[in-house]
């Protein structure tokens, strides 16, 4: 409940404060958002599994974001940033789907 509230507060703050994304952050922000989304789905799944741990959630969240950003950075340095970003998004999307499927099985048994 507090987490959902935090999500809503964050969205509202982002919409109304309208901050400018710094230039150095622009390539990494979309990938970081997708990675964090993956971490949140993973956390939700572990919550339904009954194995949720806040420490693990925090570590996975931060690690996801950092690794995703690192991959994008590396891709930019190697000149394959666009392709690597696409790859990261695809992998994270697959993980989000599998987590969503697990959540669905937990909630609906289907």
């Amino acid at each position: 409940m507090i987490a959902a509230l935090g999500l809503v507060i964050g969205i509202v703050a982002g919409l109304f404060l309208e901050p400018t994304v710094p230039l150095w952050l622009q390539p990494y922000l979309p990938i970081a958002v997708v990675a964090a989304l993956d971490a949140v789905f993973g956390g939700l799944r572990s919550l339904l599994d009954g194995i949720f741990d806040d420490r693990v959630f925090v570590v996975s969240f931060v690690a996801n974001v950092l690794v995703a950003a690192l991959i994008v950075f590396l891709g930019d340095q190697l000149g394959v940033g666009a392709q690597l970003s696409t790859g990261v998004v695809v992998v994270l999307g697959i993980r989000i789907f599998s987590n969503a499927a697990a959540i669905r099985r937990h909630l609906f048994r289907a």
Binding site: M1, I2, A3, A4, L5, G6, L7, V8, I9, G10, I11, V12, A13, G14, L15, P19, T20, V21, Q26, P27, L29, P30, A32, V33, A36, L37, D38, A39, V40, G42, G43, R45, S46, L47, L48, D49, G50, I51, F52, D53, D54, V56, F57, V58, S60, F61, A63, N64, V67, D76, G79, G81, A82, R95, N99, A102, H106, L107, F108, R109
Partner: protein, 282 residues
């Protein structure tokens, strides 16, 4: 990367909270209800550390997502990476070059067309002026301008074609540009280069054939040219007026500021002569 996947996490990572769950995995209905119980339980606001940290991270996620969506909507260019921007810049530069070349071509074509039009207009204007000049000289166009009216009254019938011809030559020497010879009977003849003055056969004076038209005295020359020069040319000692006096005739010269000669002569179409091709431009 995330350690929430059930394949890796249950035994290794979870120590305190995960203990009751493996016992409930047996019956399907029980597992579903327990999962829902856990979801409902987590929905209850409990200010535990885990809930607060999760809320913080979710807030961060929502913030970042909203900012990203917003900045993505703001402009398409700011979200692109360097290689894409370079490619777009190349495209735009190339397109700009193409458009500039096209603009140069079009301006060149426009300049040529404008020059051609100007040349055609100038040639047309020149041709019109030449037609006017030639029409006045050939007597096919009415003419207007300053000039004189020269009346020869011949009560004695002594004025013959030679006198009129002398007068005409004198007027031409003085710069007459358009000449009309008429008699009170109303008939008037436009005098041009080919005009012939012939004494009528029937004896002394009295009538002159001008290009086949019979004119009777008094004769009236209407001449367009510099009025003073024309009048002076007729008045020189031993000139036309003196000859008229010797023949008991009278000449009267009236200078006019505005004179219109409307008598015309049909344009003769040459039957054999054709314009010879000229060298250079026409």
């Amino acid at each position: 990367m995330t350690e929430h996947e059930p394949e890796t996490t249950p035994g290794a990572e979870q120590r305190g909270t995960g203990s009751p769950e493996p016992a409930h995995q047996g019956p399907a209905t029980h597992a579903r209800s327990s999962a829902r119980h856990r979801l409902l339980a987590s929905l209850r606001p409990r200010p535990t550390r885990g809930q607060l940290v999760g809320a913080l991270l979710c807030a961060l996620l929502g913030f970042a997502g909203a900012v990203q969506v917003r900045s993505n909507q703001d402009s398409d260019l700011s979200g692109l990476r360097q290689t894409d921007l370079v490619r777009i810049l190349d495209d735009v530069t190339e397109r700009s070059g193409r458009l500039q070349a096209e603009a140069r071509d079009l301006e060149e074509a426009r300049r040529q067309i404008a020059d051609g039009t100007d040349g055609s207009l100038a040639a047309l204007e020149e041709a019109r002026a030449r037609v006017d000049t030639l029409g006045i000289l050939a007597g096919t166009l009415p003419a207007t301008g300053p000039g004189i009216e020269f009346t020869i009254s011949d009560p004695a019938g002594e004025v013959q074609a030679d006198v009129l011809l002398d007068a005409l030559q004198e007027l031409r020497d003085a710069g007459a540009e358009a000449v009309d010879l008429s008699s009170p009977a109303g008939r008037s003849v436009r005098v041009v280069a080919s005009t012939a003055l012939v004494d009528e056969e029937s004896g002394r004076g009295g009538a002159v054939l001008v290009d086949g038209t019979k004119l009777e005295p008094p004769y009236l020359f209407r001449v367009i040219g510099e009025p003073r020069t024309l009048a002076a040319a007729l008045d020189i000692p031993g000139g036309v007026l003196d000859v008229l006096k010797q023949r008991d005739a009278q000449g009267l010269v009236l200078q006019r500021n505005e004179l219109t000669i409307s008598s015309l002569r049909p344009a003769a179409t040459p039957e054999y002569a054709r314009p010879a091709p000229q060298d250079g431009d026409g």
